[in-house]
Amino acid sequence: MTHRSRQLQVSALARVEGEGALRVVVEDGQVRDVQLRIYEPPRFFEAFLRGRQYTEATDITSRICGICPVAYQSSAWQAMEDACGVSVGGQIAALRRLLYCGEWISSHALHIYLLHAPDFLGYPDVVAMARDHRAAVERGLRLKKAGNAILETVGGRAIHPVSTRLGGFYRAPAAASLTALAEQLWPALDDALATVAWVSGFEFPELELDHDLLALREPGCYAIERGQVASASGLEFPARELGQHVTEHQVPHSTALQATLDGRCYLTGPLARYTISSGQLSPAAREAAAAAGLGPACRNPFRSIVVRAVEVVYAVSEALRIIAGYDPPDPSFAEVPPVAGTGHGVSEAPRGLLYHRYRLDPAGRIESAVIVPPTSQNQAAIEADLREVVAAGLDLADDELTARCERAIRNYDPCISCAAHFLDLRIERR
């Protein structure tokens, strides 16, 4: 070979959720190929849901992920209730939103403090960071605990909640238990505000993404557990039309499908949510965002850590709002008799939009299931971002360029387990 040829391999890229690999090919100083390879074995959830009862999808799909089980439950029950023509509102809907707030707080606190912040402060991991930033890491752990407390109080346990069911909850929490929860959440609001102030002081490389952004929008609130699908380019449609706009396709290098929006690469997640719904944030979250220097939109993936922190403020304040108006629902669930047909559900998982579609037979057996997780949708955008990172850093030594790529990937908090686990990174220079 006449070209300069060099290969670099990092045995494991840490601090992402799941297992995957990144392969970068540089030939004659040009980036030829960037592939985010998700090689985690396919898990066949969509296949083994077929033939199961419509009531089982919430519990089965929650097992897809230990970080965002509520997201899976929410999109599943929404789709099933849509298929069966049942609309669940009032205090049951409020409890569902409260549960989801717990997942956002817990997941975001984990990513901000334990996985992402070390990149900005120049530490290899949170352990090294904790030696110099002990108070900050303690704050992050308190926030995560507060999120877990919501999940435990409302959902019965922090991972894979057990009190949830189609139509609502097996048992609604007592008002007194939510009052006690609120006592824990008031200090968490201070911790959340301190988090925004802390991360806003980090240094952010200049980078503006031009991908389209896709997130839920809901009048009167920052969309979490439901809403219309909206894009930064002006599209707006209900969940049932998502299949008309979002197309999944296979790529040879990944066990996760990739998705396009009307043929274009797009991004879901905190940047999309913030850009589409920043006007719907609570006053506390809006003030924190403004103080952190965020405008009405944010397209810099490095600043996603600030957006996540703002979303934690929102989730804590929203949880407190819901608890203040809580009146235990009785009954704690709505009856959802099976109806033959197709139902669609979409919600905002911490990492982005999560869509479920089910077709049911008259007895409520699942005939087909489609699950589109956020990381599949974001994979092409992450690859496009990495291409620019590599192109801009070709003069860097391999280890420095590798570190920059790892950092770019963590900006997106990808959950590879959801999409199809560690990341092996290889740069080939030819």
Partner: protein, 158 residues
């Protein structure tokens, strides 16, 4: 009521075959749990572990491990703390060794930590332990009871 003298943490996923040895241990201990011993199941998520063992006089952590060459069911005991970052292998970004190091950095570890690791044969999907690992469970239970019986309650603790 005296403060707990020990916490026993069974780490693992009962739906990943031998990774379920931690939860199986806790289930086996529950009917006859010694006084002053707290039992907990964990997926190994660091903030949860820090919460469980924070300042405990003794934490016994049971988990499954893969070894080369393998001897499924063999029990390993370690009270040594990890000296260097572990290779990423957890789907949660941080593993149990990272949790131990983080606890040290934050001074939120147990006063004494014992890790009992059982060599796994099968970490595939589905419930149920392999015969070799299932056969090791009574030995693991005895080993845990031996550990907790050596530790007395700490009178300074609330």
């Amino acid at each position: 009521m005296s403060a707990p003298r020990a916490v026993v943490i069974g780490i693992g996923n009962p739906y990943r075959r031998d990774d379920g040895i931690g939860p199986a241990l806790i289930a086996a201990l529950r009917p006859s749990c010694p006084a002053g011993v707290t039992l907990a199941v964990s997926d190994g998520e660091p903030s949860h572990l820090l919460e469980l063992w924070d300042q405990a006089p003794l934490a016994v952590v049971a988990d499954a491990v893969l070894c080369e060459p393998p001897a499924p069911g063999r029990l390993h005991r370690s009270s040594a703390l990890p000296g260097r970052p572990a290779a990423a292998g957890s789907t949660h970004g941080l593993g149990v060794p990272d949790a131990i190091r983080l606890a040290q950095a934050l001074d939120r570890g147990p006063r004494q930590l014992v890790v009992l690791a059982v060599e796994a044969a099968d970490l595939g999907t589905g419930p149920g332990l392999s015969p070799a690992v299932a056969a090791s469970l009574p030995r693991l239970v005895r080993a845990v009871l031996d550990e907790v019986q050596r530790v007395r309650p700490d009178p300074r603790r609330r």
